[in-house]
């Protein structure tokens, strides 16, 4: 029983070694490791989908590895991100793109992504602070290496330097917060911490620790005062790494907060809500204002993902069940829409620079690509028939359930602001006339298939919650 439930985790842990090891048995340029990676990731994803969801406490393994429904569904998000991430990366190992040279060592690259995914798995299944901390570190450290993967590109190493300095400071803040939390409760286990928090919720030690924890995770989730590294890193990193960063790393950070806020700190969620609301509101505003004046696509996506983090924070104010379901559901939609946008940008980046100007004339040259881009952008902006609207609706619903109407109204107004810049991007693809002749865009079979698949998914996810039978269990209308 337990073995079959743990199988995906164990397989993923062994996976990087299998992929890197498989390179020993084949030619340097062979696609064999990539095929192994595909089969393995898809197998893990299918196995995750077959795990029966257990409501309540979930299944335990050696008392500190827990599989609850939130954990299983977040795992599916991480696996979707890993699979799409390696599909997006494949072309960058075949030729250079966006003025950057070709990347090398695909097996190690996939291994690093698998390690990061395993770290994310650890975060959602931890039951004590030590496992929790290790999970977050395993999820973050490969990201530093991935950012600098293109050794010949100087932007990459600059971005990685900024990222690792900021990331290590974030780790230090978090660790300091953990140490106060340990001192406050006298134990590392979430259950003991939760009972200590419930009995003594005004202790200054607890609140100092919460402040440190929020500033630490604020760096990783790109919340308002700590977001400054994100645009630089997103721009400097190779495009597929930016996509993985904006989905896996963000999902890990939000899962970390969800586990913490709805788990050990559940007793003080009410008192924390002004802090969370303030962070959410400022992050929204800053992300939206920052995105207005961007001209480079990846920098634009960085600001867009900063504001998305603000929207997701709103769900942390809601009751545990509704908040968690809203977060999981939104993460699925965000992952799919974000990857769709990055696939389109990637295809354009293979032939031109990744800027707004390169999108001009796209609707005449390749209407399908322009439609896919419009779907992705409208979904990220939250326009009704698409999945993004339903995701945002549930996030706002979670916030409104506990009476944060002012914040929800502020977020909705901000959404209008966000619509402006998303539509600007669509405008440059559909209306603006190109300057001079356009270089041709060629899509290979894999790219065409993925773009069709993701476009359908972005439209369909809004009303077909097929990925799980109880994703809507938390919503009682």
């Amino acid at each position: 029983m337990f073995e079959s439930i743990l199988l995906p985790d164990l397989l993923l842990l062994a996976f990087p070694f299998i992929v890197i090891g498989s390179r020993l048995f084949c030619d340097f340029r062979s696609a064999f490791p990539w095929r192994v990676a595909n089969i393995g990731f898809i197998l893990i994803f299918i196995m995750l989908n077959m795990i029966p969801l257990a409501s309540g406490e979930g299944h335990f393994f050696i008392f500190n590895w827990r599989l609850d429904d939130f954990g299983v569904l977040m795992r599916e998000v991480f696996m979707v991100s890993a699979i799409l991430g390696i599909w997006l990366s494949k072309d960058y190992f075949e030729h250079g793109a966006d003025g950057k040279p070709q990347m090398h060592q695909i097996a190690e690259y996939i291994g690093a992504i698998a390690f990061a995914t395993f770290g994310a798995f650890t975060v959602v299944s931890a039951c004590d602070l030590l496992t929790f901390f290790l999970g977050l570190e395993i999820a973050t450290i490969p990201m530093y290496a991935l950012t600098a993967w293109n050794k010949k590109d100087q932007m990459g190493s600059e971005a990685a330097t900024k990222y690792i300095l900021m990331g290590s400071v974030a780790t230090a803040f978090e660790l300091f917060g953990f140490s106060y939390l340990y001192g406050f409760s006298g134990s590392l286990f979430f259950n003991d911490i939760a009972s200590a928090v419930a009995t003594n919720s005004t202790s200054p030690l607890l609140w100092v620790s919460i402040l440190f924890l929020f500033s630490g995770i604020g760096f990783k989730l790109t919340l308002f005062p700590f977001y400054t590294w994100a645009p630089d890193v997103y721009e400097g990193a190779p495009t597929p790494v930016t996509a993985v960063l904006s989905v896996t790393s963000k999902a890990t950070a939000i899962a970390f907060l969800a586990v913490l806020v709805f788990g050990p700190l559940a007793a003080v969620q009410e008192q924390m809500s002004p802090l969370i609301a303030l962070l959410a509101a400022t992050t929204l505003l800053v992300g939206n204002l920052g995105a207005l004046k961007q001209t480079r696509l990846r920098r634009f996506m960085a600001y867009s993902s900063i504001s998305q983090a603000g929207y997701i924070m709103i769900a942390l104010l809601g009751p545990a069940e509704i908040g968690k379901s809203a977060i999981v559901y939104y993460m699925f939609i965000y992952a799919v829409a974000n990857y769709l946008a990055f696939f389109v940008f990637g295809i354009i980046g293979h032939h031109r620079e990744e800027t707004f100007a390169s999108l001009r004339g796209l609707s005449k040259q390749n209407p399908a690509l322009a439609i896919a881009l419009a779907i992705a952008m409208f979904s990220l902006a939250g326009i009704p028939p698409l999945a993004g609207f339903f995701g945002k609706f549930h996030l706002f619903f979670a916030g409104a359930t506990t009476g944060h109407y002012f914040l929800v109204a502020f977020a909705v107004i901000n959404n209008v602001l966000a619509l402006f810049y998303y539509i600007q991007l669509i405008k440059s693809a559909w209306i603006d006339e190109p300057e001079g002749t356009l270089s041709s865009l060629r899509l290979n079979r894999r790219q065409r298939l993925i773009i069709i698949m993701l476009s359908i998914a972005v439209v369909a996810l809004g009303f077909v919650p097929f990925l799980s039978n109880n994703i809507f269990a938390g919503f009682t209308f």
């Binding site: 901390f133 570190e137 600098a148 190493s157 300095l165 290590s168």
Partner: protein, 101 residues
């Protein structure tokens, strides 16, 4: 020696780390400052484990794990910094100006 003394020591170390991070313009100096901040957290863990915690082995164990994790992080950081150095032939952070708004 009381718990308070240790906590104040850790807090001062953390403060020195933050101050150093802001003042230093040299990448290795910044890494050392980060190391100070992480070790301040370690002192916290050990002093809580020694003086007050119900579960005193957990805190001591945590600090050992932190040391291992820090070593990994520093290994990656140094690798990235070496690739920076090959490009610019200096370790000044002021040269990180190619990526900006």
């Amino acid at each position: 020696m009381t718990l308070m003394n240790c906590l104040i020591l850790a807090f001062i170390l953390f403060g020195i780390g933050v101050w150093g991070l802001m003042r230093r313009r040299h990448l290795i100096g910044m890494l050392i400052s980060i190391e100070l901040m992480l070790n301040a957290a370690n002192i916290n863990f050990i002093s809580f484990a020694y003086f007050s915690a119900k579960d005193s082995t957990a805190g001591a164990l945590f600090s050992i794990f932190v040391i291992a994790v820090t070593a990994c992080e520093m290994a990656i950081a140094l690798a990235i910094i070496v690739s920076m150095y090959r490009r610019y032939h200096s370790l000044d952070v002021e040269q990180l100006r190619d990526l900006h708004d």
